[in-house]
């Protein structure tokens, strides 16, 4: 239950060299097998599949543990121990279990007890799959299991490490290493071609064409998509995802009867727009907008387009006042209070549109590099008011509503109250902005405010 027992598997494609090596290193004879075998290579290069295939051919006991599902080493011990018990087919008094997951020593002790009690001498492979992806501290795993046989003093347990990157902690030990290079384009195509029916399939009721035609279509499809996206990713998993993603849309003309299944070129042309868009690369996403229906307005694509257009501006859902508050909070945090007079005064002598004059008197550091400084509520409101009235004819009315919006901005963590003790609306309260320059810039552009004019 805990481990995945290798089942009957098909022979992996394009992994002949590696299989040969595995046949040499992993045998059913404990005396000719090394204590450690490492399978290394980039992710989704068929390491696990090849190993599983090989082990299924071999008549040995093996225990698989996926380390990426283990939060910590303790969980790993736990699963490994349970797996060993299960796979060996022997039962043990559960009193040992308590130690097994407490520490490495506990694990080893329990295992030793297990071995002595049952006089267990069968060759047993422990597969630490994706060992470098354990969530906490994989170096510790390396160190512990590198000395595993030494500590256990028992030769029948062999460790197979499956990992992406070379582990320096394992350099000192006696080991055999099998390297899995990335698939090249042709290998990839031949791997994927064999997956028809598992990856994508025609709908069950689509029986107009023969199975042979369908498979021919699938072969063409894989060739096409692999060619198109191979420059984007050489990871077979990614390519398969793209294949799955594009499949329903791609076969649409065939299903609806618009085009025959053997007119592949025409189908390709028909789908040109789909393939050249980044549809496949976007996360799978459906927008439900029940409102537009209820509004009794006609639904067309424009509504959805509009929604997505609007989404490109950050914070576009905020009200106008809130957006001005955000901008002015950035200004307050990044300009000294004594510059307010220069920036926001109505006196003509201090022309705020002459930045060179102002900059001369202040340091010419890039303001966006500074840590935002705290400012008082009153100053914030004042700057907002001036900013607002400069860009709009009407007055910025600071009533109860504005304070509510300030609270909202705080809840959204766009601004942070820097002294926690004081109340939000007291004159004492100090605030600071918590948004990056880019976001604020985008917001200010959407409102037609030139942010640079107000930063010294």
């Amino acid at each position: 239950m805990l481990t995945t027992k290798p089942h009957k598997l098909r022979r992996p494609i394009a992994r002949e060299d590696q299989l040969d090596l595995l046949q040499t290193y992993i045998t059913s004879n404990p005396t000719t097998t090394l204590d450690h075998i490492i399978l290394r290579g980039a992710s989704s290069t068929g390491k696990t599949t090849t190993l599983q295939y090989h082990l299924s051919k071999l008549d040995v006991i093996s225990t698989f543990v996926s380390c990426d599902q283990c939060l910590s080493v303790k969980v790993l011990f736990n699963r490994l121990f349970d797996g060993i018990k299960l796979d060996s087919g022997l039962e043990l008094d559960s009193s040992y279990d308590v130690y097994a997951s407490s520490s490495f020593q506990g694990f080893v002790k329990s295992l030793r007890d297990f071995v002595t009690e049952w006089e267990y001498e069968d060759l047993h492979y422990l597969v630490l799959d994706r060992v470098d992806q354990i969530i906490e501290d994989h170096e510790a795993v390396y160190e512990m299991f590198a000395k595993f046989q030494e500590v256990l003093n028992c030769g029948n347990f062999k460790i197979i490490w499956v990992m992406n990157e070379e582990a320096l902690s394992l350099t000192g030990i006696k080991k055999a290493e099998v390297f899995f290079e990335k698939y090249n384009r042709d290998d990839m195509v031949s791997v994927i071609k064999g997956m028809y029916g598992k990856v994508c399939n025609f709908p069950k009721n689509f029986t107009v064409v023969t199975q042979k035609q369908k498979i021919a279509f699938w072969h063409n499809y894989t060739e096409l998509i692999t060619d198109l996206y191979f420059p984007y990713s050489t990871n077979i998993e990614t390519i398969i995802r793209l294949l799955i993603r594009l499949w329903p849309k791609f076969i649409e003309p065939v299903i609806t009867g618009g085009l025959a299944i053997n007119e592949f070129l025409q189908i390709y042309r028909h789908n040109m727009a789909l393939l050249s868009s980044d549809y496949a690369l976007q996360p799978e996403h459906q927008i439900y907008n029940p409102l537009s229906k209820q509004m009794e307005l006609r639904i067309n694509n424009d509504i959805i387009k509009e929604v997505s257009d609007e989404q490109d501006i950050p914070l576009s859902k905020l009200s106008k006042y809130s957006r001005y508050l955000v901008i002015s909070s950035y200004i307050c945090s990044h300009t000294p209070a004594k510059a307010d007079y220069l920036l926001f005064s109505k006196l003509q002598t201090y022309n705020r549109r002459n930045p060179s004059k102002m900059k001369a008197s202040y340091d010419t550091h890039d303001h966006s590099l500074h840590e935002p400084s705290a400012y008082t509520l009153e100053r914030w409101l004042a700057v907002t008011q001036v900013l607002y009235s400069l860009h709009y004819q009407d007055k910025f009315v600071s009533d109860i509503d504005v304070y509510r919006q300030i609270e909202d901005l705080e809840t959204l963590k766009f601004v942070i109250k820097s002294d926690k003790g004081s109340q939000a609306l007291s004159g004492f309260a100090k605030w600071r902005v918590n948004l990056s320059m880019n976001v604020v810039q985008a917001v200010s552009e959407s409102l037609g405010v030139k942010l640079e004019d107000y930063l010294v």
Binding site: L2, D68, Q69, N78, P283, H285, K317, S322, Q385, R404
Partner: protein, 727 residues
């Protein structure tokens, strides 16, 4: 120089004008509204006042009250039905998506279905939706686990929360069966904290997997709700999702992201590899625009009285500038309706079933719209007509009835124009949809009535006409069909009058012929046809209604924001309010009237001193930007009427009836410092006064700093005035 002169020369403070005795305004009673209304006899249950200086007949006042109650009741009904039906469809849809099974995909580990909820900016509103959703999901027997970024700040905590959340939700029957097992588990956990009975860590995901094998029902999913997805650490989130994904084969996880940003921003925080593990379905939870539309359609357009230009301006602006809040909308409408019926004696004549009494007529002449009308008459040299209206009551009555019917007529036209725009035109013009005009915005555009307001000059209608110009044949055909089915008389008239020129059957015939010539012919004819149609619409928009402001007496029948009543009551200005009440505190604090013996002394003291913070604020208003705290104290002390205050104060202290100081006997510190001090005959009056004022001063000064009137400056003995005008 003698001593006295010397002290004087060292003074930094001079008090020039000692305060004269305050006059209390005892006349201010509630219930008299600018001498316009008089309270009704106490017997009647009507809380309104008799208007027209009390000359309004009681029956009319009661009628007014009754109308008001009807109107409010209707409003409540509309809102109640709205709230009941709110989100129902949306919830249904989300639940449907959540419970749907996933199709198997090659990877065995299927993608996790993720529901992304996008809320409006106001956090409060979004929360209530999430609660509703969770309750709905729970009622469908799904298992729900809620994570928030503060509690689930590490991987272990997050996993623990999920596992705990899932296993504790075991159904009662299961619990019965595994009672011993569970008890043991809990005990073990209590002792060790780390290990469960079956020696597994509390963050081992296998626990969930096993639980699911035992308790799995196909329809029930495990919903993991991320309450504040935007605040989650992306790294942690990625790992957590990977972890869940690895178990997805056996464990039916569904993720619910509650986000306040948009989809692009949400996804940007998630690793591409992790994105591939998820299938998003996003829902806009923000239904405010839809609600506003319903309210405008069902309530405002259906009400006896429309809302006026200024009120619609206020609401649209409010919604534009700040959070769109339906409760606020409700409140504004209620308050304005209340104000409308409260102070408008003419509202009852709208229905035309009441004869207008004589007393009412002269008041009509005070209306602004009537005065404008007279000005217009004078401008056009119709002196006689103007004189008749100004002097002859009977003629005025007749004029009023005439204008009322013209107003009603215009109102009908307005309503049908509104329906025409929202129900017919909006479907064919992108500009309405894409600019996200809601019905309230459209209402506001239509009712706006500058003097020479021309609907066709507004951007809104310019856009609409432009859009119409770009319509294709089938769209136009559909539009005309809709138009022909429209029932409102004025729009109907538009169609029937021009039925001949709107006949598109010959165009259809032309379109059906495939030859090139006839296609060319068709194009020509079609553009001609379209031009005619647009001209008709153009003409219709121009003439369908006139601005309400041009109709005399219009203000009597439009609910308006008279005297900024909405602003003053619902959106008070924070700082201004504080300042105003500090200046005119009498209007807020109750005044002792007819105070008899026991309170007599207090009352005297009250008349001598204003609330102390008011006194301090008076000085604050007259000072410079920067002021010395000691000076401030001195001015404060000397500006008070020392002799009388201290005398009365001591009398109050000595008075046995109050026992002010005796309450301090039980408190050691207070007894020592206050009781003894004030009862000590050796301490002079001046000193007592000094100390008293100092205490008062420090207390109130701090209050003012706290309220933001002052800031403390670097040399500690100075204060800086924080003056931001109008904040």
């Amino acid at each position: 120089m003698d001593e006295h002169e010397y002290i004087n020369s060292q003074k930094t403070v001079y008090v020039l004008k000692p305060r004269t005795k305050r006059k209390l305004n005892h006349d201010q009673r509630p219930h008299t509204v600018n001498q316009e209304g008089q309270p009704l006899p106490k017997k009647s249950k009507n809380p309104m006042v008799g208007l027209l200086g009390g000359k309004e007949p009681i029956s009319f006042a009661n009628l007014r009250y009754e109308n008001y109650r009807k109107s409010i009741k209707k409003q409540e009904e509309v809102f109640e039905s709205l709230y009941q039906n709110l989100d129902v469809d949306l919830l249904k849809k989300i639940v449907e998506v959540a419970r749907s099974d996933d199709e198997n995909d090659y990877f065995g580990s299927r993608t996790i279905k993720t529901i992304a909820l996008f809320n409006k900016s106001s956090v409060g509103n979004g929360d209530s939706f999430i609660h509703k959703l969770l309750a709905e999901l729970e009622s469908k027997r799904h298992t729900i686990v809620t994570l928030n970024s503060k509690e689930a700040n590490t991987m272990r905590n997050a996993l623990k929360t999920i596992i705990h959340g899932v296993t504790k939700n075991q159904s009662a029957s299961d619990r019965q069966g595994h009672q011993n097992h569970n008890n043991a588990a809990e005990d073990e956990e209590d002792e060790d904290g780390q290990l469960l009975f079956d020696k597994r860590s509390p963050y081992d995901f296998d626990i969930i997997r096993e639980w699911c094998l035992k308790n799995y029902h196909r329809k029930n999913k495990i919903m993991v709700v991320f309450e504040d997805i935007d605040s989650f650490n992306p790294h942690l989130l990625g790992k957590l999702i990977k972890m869940m994904h690895s178990q997805n084969e056996k464990v039916p996880f569904r993720l619910i992201f509650n986000s306040t940003v948009n989809f692009t921003t949400l996804v940007r925080n998630i690793d591409v590899q992790v994105q591939n593990m998820l299938t998003f379905s996003s829902f806009e939870v923000d239904q405010v625009n839809y609600l506003i539309n319903l309210i405008v359609k069902n309530l405002i357009m259906n009400n006896d009285f429309l809302i006026g230009e200024d009120l619609s301006q206020l609401i649209t602006q409010k919604f534009h500038n700040s959070v769109k809040n339906i409760d606020m909308f409700d409140k504004i409408l209620k308050l304005s309706t209340m104000a409308f019926y409260f102070n408008n004696p003419f509202s009852i004549f709208y229905y035309g079933d009441k004869e207008i009494p004589k007393e009412y007529i002269p008041h009509l002449r005070q209306l602004k719209s009537f005065q404008r009308h007279i000005e217009g008459l004078v401008g056009r040299s119709h002196y006689e007509r103007a004189q008749i209206l100004l002097t002859n009551d009977e003629k005025l009555r007749y004029f009023f009835i005439q204008e009322l019917s013209s107003f009603k007529n215009n109102e009908l036209n307005f309503k049908s124009l509104f329906r025409f725009v929202t129900e017919v035109l909006s479907g064919f013009t992108n500009s309405i949809n894409s600019k996200a005009y809601n019905y309230l915005d459209i209402y506001h555009i239509l009712i706006l009535s500058d003097k020479d307001h021309d609907l066709l000059k507004t951007k809104f209608f310019v856009d609409i006409l432009n859009d119409l110009k770009g319509l294709g044949f089938y769209d136009l055909k559909q539009l005309i069909t809709l138009l022909s089915q429209f029932q409102d008389p004025s729009v109907r008239k538009l169609y029937t009058d021009n039925e001949a020129s709107l006949d598109f059957s010959y165009l259809e015939e032309l379109n059906d012929i495939q030859s090139r010539e006839s296609q060319l012919q068709f194009k020509l004819e079609f553009s001609r046809f379209k031009d005619t149609f647009i001209k008709l619409i153009d003409q219709f928009l121009k003439t369908s209604m006139k601005p309400f402001a041009n109709i005399p007496f219009n203000e009597l029948f439009l609910i308006s924001n008279s005297q900024d009543i909405i602003q003053k009551n619902l959106f008070p200005e924070y700082r201004e309010n504080i300042i105003n009440s500090l200046i005119n505190h009498e209007s807020l604090l109750s005044v002792f009237e007819n105070a008899t013996s026991p309170l007599q002394k207090f009352n005297e003291l009250n008349e001598l001193i204003n609330p102390l913070i008011v006194e301090l604020f008076q000085i604050y208003r007259d000072t410079n930007l920067i002021l010395n705290i000691y000076d401030f104290y001195q001015v404060f002390k000397y500006s008070m009427n020392y002799d009388k205050i201290i005398d009365t104060f001591v009398e109050v202290l000595d008075d046995d009836t109050f026992n002010v100081l005796e309450n301090y006997l039980n408190d050691e510190d207070r007894f020592k410092f206050i009781y003894q001090f004030f009862n000590d005959p050796d301490v002079s009056k001046e000193e007592k006064y000094d100390k008293l004022m100092l205490v008062f001063f420090l207390q109130k000064c701090n209050e003012m700093i706290y309220m933001g009137f002052f800031k403390e400056r670097k040399p500690k003995d100075y204060l800086e005035k924080a003056v931001w005008r109008g904040l």
